[in-house]
């Protein structure tokens, strides 16, 4: 779906934010990108639909080069990004209007825009907020609207850049559920986070550090490698599993999904001895 070849990028007057990145994002895969603050995750995300263009190397989306300005509209139609801050990604004064912004830029007919907006409103359960200002919504509803605003463009790939980091845990989980649902519909998902716990549904995870991909693999594999990696915020259950492993007690990755499964596993281990 998206291919990055030897991609390097530095912000004006800054140190390199991406160094020689090689990455192939497959059709329909759920890719997790994890790394501490400043490791270059957002910079990488912005390269995926040509919002930033590589200084060296190249990025292609279904074969379209992001440095080719004439192809950018097509690329943005294929790859949509949901950003971290719900407040600064609304353009419309009402939820409905915000959802229409993308399709309006695609120059669709008013009738077609209506159809798309109505369908996405129904799918995301935002129907009742149709005429509300997106700024009056809660964080969770706000991110849901931001996602809906990208969905009306009917992209093939969706990129999420730390979309839950400003939400309370409850709405974060709800947003994540919705994203996992999109994957079932065959969309390609790129999910940026600094929380490994959110990547249970990922097929593959890459770990970034100082603008480089330092590790790559299934979340399960990284889970046993990661502990001892300072700076990466390990969520409590995973950290707990890491501590237990240091004492020779092995709780498998699937069981760190929730406190319930974790407790069951502990009980199972103890009843054996």
């Amino acid at each position: 779906m998206i291919r990055l070849e030897n991609v390097s990028y530095s912000y004006p007057g800054g140190t390199p934010a991406l160094r020689n990145i090689n990455l192939e994002i497959e059709e329909g895969e759920f890719l997790g990108i994890i790394g501490r603050n400043g490791s270059g995750k957002s910079t990488l995300a912005l390269h995926l639909n040509g919002l930033l263009r590589p200084e060296k190397g190249k990025v292609t989306v279904r074969g379209l080069d992001t440095r080719d300005f004439a192809r950018l509209p097509e690329i943005r139609k294929l790859v949509g990004i949901v950003f971290q801050n719900p407040e600064t990604q609304f353009v419309g004064r009402t939820v409905e209007e915000d959802l229409a912004f993308g399709p309006e830029n695609l120059c669709l007919s008013p009738a077609e825009i209506r159809v798309r907006v109505d369908r996405v409103l129904a799918e995301t359960g935002l129907e009742k907020y149709r005429h509300r200002s997106p700024k009056t919504l809660s964080g969770g509803q706000g991110q849901c609207t931001a996602l809906a605003g990208v969905l009306t463009m009917e992209p093939e790939c969706l990129v999420f850049d730390e979309v839950t980091s400003m939400l309370d845990p409850g709405s974060g989980t709800a947003v994540l559920k919705r994203i996992e649902g999109l994957r079932e519909k065959g969309k390609t998902i790129v999910y940026v986070t600094h929380n490994l716990e959110e990547l249970h549904a990922a097929d593959r995870v890459i770990v970034m550090e100082q603008g480089k991909i330092v590790r790559e693999g299934q979340p399960e594999k990284l889970f046993s490698d990661l502990p001892g990696d300072p700076g990466l915020a390990l969520p409590s259950l995973i950290e707990l599993a890491a501590q237990l492993r240091a004492h020779g007690i092995h709780v498998p990755w699937e069981k760190t999904r929730s406190p319930e499964t974790f407790a069951e596993e502990i009980c199972r281990l103890f009843s054996k001895t």
């Binding site: 912005l46 639909n49 919002l51 509209p73 943005r76 139609k77 949509g80 990004i81 950003f83 801050n85 407040e87 600064t88 990604q89 609304f90 353009v91 419309g92 004064r93 009402t94 409905e96 209007e97 229409a100 912004f101 993308g102 399709p103 309006e104 830029n105 695609l106 120059c107 669709l108 007919s109 008013p110 009738a111 825009i113 209506r114 907006v117 005429h131 200002s133 700024k135 009056t136 605003g149 990208v150 463009m153």
Partner: protein, 257 residues
């Protein structure tokens, strides 16, 4: 939360269904008419028109009252100024102040005109989705040779939309910056000359960041400042032409009164 002035009230009335351009043209025409109407019968007729429209729209009257309320002080001031400072037949005498009959007439006329303007504008905004208004303005501006000014009508429309969307963000940021500075021990009560720079610098920094993020999000969703369509279908139907015709006849009547 405080209800916003000039807000949109969703509905399906005849007024809601009119093309935004019809309503924009009507408000402009009514604006001119309001300031041309000299006689009190004419002004009275305009008030009757407003109440008819308000009824037709099905919008509660308090929405219209909300549009006038912030201006009440200003309008009262103008009324009083006219009342006391127009030369003419004295109605009464309060020392040096002498309200005159002409002053009363002038004051009532001018105050009514301001109120009418606000009310008609509120009829437009209450019955028209804000983005339909911008779409209408965009469509009306499109034939103008704006290219000479270096903008397109689409950019103008987006700018209008954004500035309205950005204002609440601005106010919120002012509050947040104030709170953050107060937490650092800034005292805003004493000297505004000391507090303004302390507020302005982080405020601007924050706004520039907000604007940058917003621009990225817009670009990501395919915005290019070039031709775009609108969800609001603009088509002048029979009822639009009929409404404009009725309004035209009404105008001739009012000017004749």
């Amino acid at each position: 939360m405080k209800e916003p002035v000039f807000s949109y009230v969703p509905g399906t009335s005849l007024l809601h269904r009119l093309d935004p351009r019809t309503k924009l043209a009507a408000v402009m025409l009514l604006g001119v008419l309001t300031f041309r109407a000299e006689s009190f019968t004419g002004i009275g007729a305009l008030f009757v028109l407003f109440f008819t429209l308000a009824l037709l729209s099905g919008v509660p009257l308090k929405v219209f009252a909300r549009a006038v309320r912030p201006m009440v002080l200003f309008i009262t001031f103008i009324f009083l100024a006219q009342l006391f400072f127009t030369e003419g037949e004295a109605l009464a005498s309060f020392g040096a102040l002498q309200p005159s009959l002409e002053g009363l007439e002038n004051g009532t006329r001018i105050a009514s005109r301001f109120v009418l303007l606000l009310l008609f504008a509120a009829v437009l905004t209450a019955s028209t989705n804000p983005s339909a208004i911008t779409a209408g303005i965009e469509r009306m501006l499109r034939p103008l040779p704006l290219r000479w000014l270096g903008v397109t009508s689409f950019e103008l429309a987006t700018m209008m939309n954004l500035s309205i969307a950005f204002l609440p963000l601005l106010f919120e940021r002012v509050e947040r910056t104030k709170a953050a500075q107060a937490a650092r021990g800034m005292d805003f009560g004493k000297s505004p000359f000391r507090s303004i720079p302390a507020l302005a610098v982080p405020l601007l920094r924050g706004l520039v960041r907000d604007a940058g993020e917003l621009a990225l999000a817009m670009e990501s969703r395919g915005y290019q400042g070039r031709a775009r369509t609108s969800m609001h279908e603009l088509s002048m139907k029979g009822r639009d032409w009929a409404a404009l015709l009725v309004l035209l006849l009404f105008s001739i009547l009012v000017l004749g009164l």
